[in-house]
């Protein structure tokens, strides 16, 4: 048999049913999680009704949701504040984490020297950071950003380190055979080969980022502008339990959205993980060369 025909047969088919299967995939990936959230809310509602849970202990989910919609004008700026802290902190943490990971992977001396400090930094209770951060940085957004970055950078660093140290040595040797510079080897091989690890670290960081922002709002006061966490605090002290639960739902929604955003950017950044064929480049129009052109 002609080898080319055999290989063609083995190559995956460009399926004509692709659109349909994509719709099914979206339904499966979005529909099932949404359904499970609805089920949790229903279960919650059922427990509250069946066990006659007093509204000041646990409200019905609808009451919690209503407390959010009724106060949305008040909540919205606070939500934006939490999102801003999350984004700033996450970006700072991820950049710092990536930078530290790269530097430590490249200089074993720094690795040995810095790593224990990094581990130590994660042992510091965030609560203990609150007062010193406020005394140094004041009541603004900065101390919250520092706390988020503090939490986010570590998993990024650890994963980037792992990713960089597990790049296929043969691939690096091949680059050497070609006479590649260290710089190009780094950008063309080591960084892309660590993308999956980088995103693994960022996904862990993303799940912590919003929690970090909320914790930051709690341990470093915000002054007159207030914060989502303090809004919840006030609702709690005022026995407004529906608002406490409603705020928790809002925080959860921010957390999930942020995580999904990171997952989404991973999908965009690593098309080879899911696609068979690359998309046409958006940036470069390639000249077509007639196949008859021969060099030799």
């Amino acid at each position: 048999m002609d080898p080319q025909t055999r290989d063609l047969e083995r190559a995956p088919r460009e399926s004509g049913q692709r659109d349909r299967s994509r719709t099914q995939t979206v339904l499966r990936n979005v529909g099932i999680p949404v359904l499970s959230i609805v089920l949790v809310l229903l279960l919650w509602q059922a427990i509250v009704i069946i066990f006659h849970v007093a509204p000041y202990i646990a409200p019905r989910p609808m009451a919690a949701i209503q407390s959010v919609t009724d106060n949305w004008g008040l909540l919205w700026p606070l939500v934006l504040g939490t999102i801003r802290e999350t984004i700033y902190g996450f970006v700072c943490g991820a950049v710092l984490g990536l930078g530290l990971g790269v530097i430590m992977a490249k200089t074993p001396f720094l690795h040995r020297m810095v790593y224990p400090v990094l581990v130590l930094s994660q042992g510091v209770p965030i609560i203990a950071l609150g007062a010193p951060l406020v005394l140094i940085l004041g009541f603004g957004v900065t101390p919250k950003v520092v706390i988020v970055a503090w939490i986010v950078f570590f998993p990024v660093t650890v994963n980037v380190l792992a990713g960089l140290s597990h790049v296929d040595q043969d691939l690096l040797n091949l680059a050497r055979v070609y006479g590649a510079s260290r710089w190009r080897t780094f950008w063309q091989i080591e960084i892309p080969a660590s993308t999956t690890s980088l995103f693994a670290g960022m996904k862990i960081g993303a799940t912590y980022a919003v929690t970090g922002a909320i914790l930051g709002e709690l341990v470093t006061p915000s002054g007159a502008s207030g914060s989502l966490a303090l809004y919840q605090e006030t609702a709690n002290t005022n026995f407004n339990v529906a608002a406490v639960y409603g705020t928790t739902m809002v925080m959860t929604a921010i957390g999930i959205s942020w995580f999904l955003l990171i997952v989404g950017s991973e999908v965009l950044a690593t098309p080879w993980q899911r696609r068979t064929v690359a998309r046409r480049s958006m940036f470069r129009r390639r000249r077509d060369v007639p196949p008859t052109l021969r060099v030799h």
Partner: protein, 251 residues
């Protein structure tokens, strides 16, 4: 070029600690020839290749490629391993142009050349595919094209078909001969497979381990072009028996 030899090794030796991996070895490889190297595991074949490729600096001796001393320096040969080492995040076309990307940046000529070889050797439809979408044979062909477009006259192929199934391997061997003929390169080809070494080569070097050294150098008497019928040719059978005897003693 003062001689007809593309590659010349003069007394090249390499030890790892107390172990002599390659005893002083001299070798001349004629330009345009296809030379196979067979030998058991640990016979120093890969050490030899790594020295030629410049990945390892030999303890002594000299490597010359096209009359230039290149001992211990990389960037003078094409190199391909059993592992295809394709970058999963790059398309077929981008993988073929990898050497340019790693050294000076890819230009339109590189891309045109990549498309030309891909189309010429049966992968034209897969230029935009990612490696994971290809079969093992197709991946090895992409890896070979990547080696080919470096334009280095000397290609080191280290068991490139070792991981393929028997059927695919046969197809790839025929394909390689076709490409070799058209591309007019010099090939050094490591293999465990004696049939493969004879089927492909002009010359077969046999190596033995502890310490690694070349113990025999056969000129392959088989005429080209070859097809699968040569596998039963008396010359083939004779050469094969000689090589097997060297490799396995009287057993």
């Amino acid at each position: 070029m003062s001689s007809n030899d593309l590659l010349q090794l003069r007394g090249v030796a390499k030890s790892f600690g107390a172990t002599l991996a390659l005893e002083p070895t001299s070798l001349d490889i004629q330009d345009g020839s296809f030379v196979a190297i067979v030998g058991p595991s640990g016979c120093g074949k890969s050490t030899l290749f790594n020295v030629i490729a410049g990945l390892l600096k030999p303890d002594s001796g000299e490597v010359q490629v096209a009359d230039h001393v290149v001992t211990g320096t990389a960037g003078h040969v094409g190199y391909m391993l059993q592992k295809d080492l394709l970058m999963p995040w790059r398309t077929v076309e981008e993988n073929i142009t990898m050497a340019a990307r790693l050294t000076r940046g890819v230009n339109d000529d590189d891309r045109a050349e990549a498309r030309r070889v891909a189309e010429q050797y049966g992968l034209g439809e897969f230029l935009r595919h990612y490696p994971h979408a290809l079969s093992g044979g197709m991946r090895q062909r992409v890896a070979f094209m990547r080696t080919l477009v470096t334009r280095h006259p000397l290609l080191l192929l280290d068991e490139p078909f070792g991981a393929l199934d028997a059927q695919t391997r046969l197809e790839m061997q025929q394909w390689l001969l076709e490409v070799w003929k058209e591309a007019q390169r010099t090939v050094l080809f490591i293999t465990h497979d004696v049939d493969e070494s004879i089927f492909l080569s002009d010359r077969v070097l046999v190596m033995s381990p502890r310490p690694g050294r070349i113990i025999a150098d056969f000129v392959n008497p088989l005429a080209r072009p070859r097809n699968l019928d040569v596998l039963t040719d008396p010359h083939f059978v004779e050469l094969k028996s000689q090589i097997l005897h060297l490799l396995h003693g009287g057993r």
